[in-house]
Amino acid sequence: MNLSEFENLALSISEITGKKDFRISSENDKQFFMRHDVDSSIYGAAVFAESLNKLGIRSNFFIRTNANLYNPLNKNIQDQIRFIAENHNVGLHIESPHSFLSEELFNKEFQISIGLLNSILRRNIDCISWHRPHQLDLGGPDQILGLTNLYSKRFFKDFVYISDSGNKWSAERKSLLFETLLKKLPLQLLIHPEWWLESGFRASFEESIRPQFLEQFKDTQNKFTVDIPELNLEKLREAAVNNDQPLISIVISTIGRPNLRKLINDIFHDLYGINFEIVIVKDGEQIFDYEPSVEQKEKIKIIKNENRLGPSSSFQIGIDAAKGEFVRIFPDDDDWAFGFVESAFRDSKPGVILTGTFLIKDELGTGRRSVQKNLNVEGPLKSVYNNTVAWKRNPTFLALPAMLIPREIFDQVKFYPGLFNKEDIILLQEIWEKGFRFKTIDRNAMTGNVSLKRSSDRATLDEEFRFCEYINNTDPDLLKKYIYRNLARPHVAYVNFSWLTTVFRLSKKYGVKPNPYELINLSVYFFIGLSSPLLRMRSKLFKFKSFNFRK
C-alpha cells in the first residue's frame, strides 16, 4: 500500500463510475462515495488531498478535534484543514455517544468540536463519521444533532461498506470493490491516508513542519544558555520497579497455546515500567511448548502439572505461587488488552476491577482473533442478563482477564478444583458473597487494544457500569440459581469427577435442587460416564475440542 497504489485505485474507480466527484451529495446518495478518516496525521491527509487534486478527484475527509497527534487549534494544522477543504468535503470524526459516560458529555464535546471545525472552515460542516464505532452505532439514525450520519442504516446497511481499517487491504477487498462498482450497487469506501502514505507523509513532514519547528526552537534555545539535564531512562525504569508500586501477578494456565509467546511479549510491552511477574502453569502435556527468552526469564515462573487438571485447578496453583498484591488471570483463549492495568491504577488503589469484556472466536491456530457474534442467548434467566453486558451476549461468558483481583481475596476465596468451565462465574459469585464489590474503569483509557480487537465489538461503558451494578446489587439467590443451572448442564467434554463433586457441593451450598432434567443428566453421568471406559474414550474424543488448529 502506497500513494501511487491509491492513485491507481482512485483512477480505476473514476473510470468505472465515470465520475470524479466521490463526495457525499444528494446526487451520490445511492451510488458511490469515498471517505477518509483522519485518525492521526493531518499532514498525511493533506498529502492525500493534494494527490486527489492532481487527479481532479474530490472526496470526503473526516477530521478529529480530540486526536492525540494533531491539534486543530494550531494555526499550521488549521491551514492544512483549510487546504483539504478547498476541494473536498470535510466532516467531523468523533467517538460515538457510547464511548462517553453520559449523553450530556457527548453533546458538549460534539458541540465544541462542531464549533471549532465550523470556525476553522468558516462554513458549517454537515456530516459525521464515528471514530471506533460501537456495534450499536452501526445502522443508527440518519441524522445526529443535525449532521448526516455515515453509520446510519441508509449509508451503512443499505450500502456495501468496504474499508482498509486496521491496515487491512487485500486482493479480496479490491475485487469486492470493483465487483460492487460494476454492478452499480451503492458503496461506501473508507480509506485511511495513514495506511497508504509512509513515504509521502515523511516528505510532507520534512518539508513543512520540521524547518518551522527548528526555527521556533532555535529562538527558545538562544534565549537560554543552560545545560539541559538528561532524563535518565534507566534510572526511571529502576525507580518504577523499586518504588512502592504493588506487584502485579499475571497467572496463565495453558495447555500449550501456540501464541503464548505473543501474549508474553504483549505483557512485557504493556507493563514496561510496572512491577509485575508472570506465573505460567503448564497444564499437562503441551501442544506447543514455550520457553521464555533469556531477558524475560527473571520475571517468569513456570509450573508444570504432570496431568491435565483443568483451568480452575491450574489457576489456583498459579495463584498460590504468585506473590503479587493484585492478580490477573489468563486462560488459553484470551488476548492481552493493552492499558487495562494502567487504567485500573489511574483511579487510586483498585478494588475488584471488571471491565473491557469481549467475546472472541477461538482461532488460535491461525493466530488471528475475531469477535464472536450472533449468539443466541437462551435460558431461564434471560431477562436478567438482558440487562447486563457479558451475559447479554453469552450467558456463560465472563472474561477472567477483565478482572484485576486483590491478592488478599484469594485468602478467602479459592477456585473449585478440576473444573473445565464455569470456574470464572463461580469465582465471581464467591468473591461477591464474601462482601467484595466490583467496579469498572474508564474504557477510553484502554488505548492499546485497537490492534488486537475491534472496539466496535466491545461492551459500551454504560453496559459495563450496568454489569457491575448488577453484580453488586443482584439478588443472590437468582445469581446462585443461574450459576448452578449453567454448571449442571455441561458439555460432555467438561464432565469429570471434580465437576460432579462441585455440582453437588454448590447444590447444597446454594440451596438449589436439580430439576428432573438435570437429575437425569447427573445420574447418567454418575452411573455410566464416570465409572466406565467410556469416560476415557470421551476424554480422548473431546480432549482438544475447543482448539481447532487446522482452521
Binding site: 491539534n71 487549534l73 515500567g273 490492534s451
Partner: protein, 227 residues
C-alpha cells in the same frame, strides 16, 4: 552556569523565602512568582508539576493551546491538565492559534471545565487567556499589581535570586520566574517531535501513551532521577 536541578532548586527557593506558595497573589510581594510556560510538551509540564509537588511547591502554569506537539482537547491532555490543576494554578495562552475569534474564549472555558471535572478536589484554575508574549507580559504585570512592581526572570537569571539578589531586584518588586519545562527535562521539542513523528509511523498512540503513563507512574521519583 551550573547545571540545573529543579528539585534542589525548588527546595532552595522554599528555604530562602520561607514559603511554598509561589502562585500569583501569594500575598507577599517579596516572594517570587513561578510561571511555567508550556508550549511544546505537556508531559514535561506534568513532570515539572510533580517535582514541585514532591517539594510541596505551588506554582502557575501557562498552557499553550496551539501547540504542534500536543492537543489540549485530547483526553490524555485533559487528564494531565486536571492533574496539574490539583495543586497549581493554570492559565492558557494562544500564541499559535488564530487570534480574535470569540469562539476560542468558549473553547478555553470548555478546556477549563473539562480539566476541573477530572479534578475531584477543589482547584484554583485561573481563567486567564493571552495570545502572545506581550499579552503574557501584560497578564503577569496585572496579576502582580502593575509594571512598577514586577521583574521577569528566565532560567539564565535564576542564580541572581540567590546571589546579588538585592542588586538585581528592587525590594518593592515581585520577581517572576519563567520556567520552560523542556529546558529542564530531556524532552526538548526537536527530539520530542521527531520521536512522536516516528512513533506515529510505527506503533503510534500506544507508544505516545506509554510515555505519558510512564511519566505518571514515575513522577514521584523524578527528584532522584533528574541529576
Amino acid at each position: 552556569m551550573k547545571k540545573l536541578d529543579l528539585s534542589s532548586y525548588s527546595r532552595s527557593l522554599a528555604e530562602t523565602y520561607q514559603t511554598s506558595d509561589f502562585r500569583f497573589g501569594n500575598k507577599n510581594g517579596q516572594v517570587p512568582v513561578i510561571l511555567v510556560t508550556v508550549t511544546f510538551s505537556l508531559v514535561s509540564a506534568y513532570l515539572i508539576s510533580r517535582i514541585f509537588d514532591s517539594e510541596g511547591l505551588k506554582a502557575n502554569f501557562s498552557i499553550e493551546l496551539g501547540s504542534l506537539q500536543y492537543n489540549p482537547l485530547s483526553k490524555d491532555s485533559r487528564f494531565i491538565l486536571s492533574n496539574i490543576a490539583k495543586n497549581h494554578r493554570i492559565g492558557f495562552s494562544g500564541t499559535n492559534i488564530a487570534p480574535g475569534e470569540n469562539f476560542y474564549k468558549e473553547l478555553v472555558d470548555y478546556v477549563i471545565t473539562e480539566a476541573s471535572s477530572y479534578t475531584k478536589t477543589p482547584n484554583e484554575i485561573i481563567q486567564n487567556f493571552h495570545f502572545g508574549e506581550s499579552e503574557l507580559r501584560q497578564l503577569i504585570i496585572s496579576e502582580c499589581g502593575g509594571e512598577e512592581s514586577v521583574t521577569l526572570f528566565g532560567e539564565n537569571d535564576m542564580d541572581a535570586l540567590f546571589t546579588g539578589f538585592e542588586a538585581f531586584v528592587k525590594p518593592s518588586k515581585t520577581p517572576v520566574l519563567i520556567f520552560h519545562p523542556e529546558l529542564w527535562l530531556d524532552l526538548n521539542p526537536e527530539t520530542s517531535l521527531l520521536k512522536s513523528w516516528i512513533r506515529q509511523n510505527d506503533v503510534q498512540l500506544q507508544e505516545i501513551n506509554r510515555e505519558i503513563m510512564l511519566s505518571f507512574r514515575n513522577s514521584l521519583n523524578l527528584a532522584d532521577i533528574l541529576t
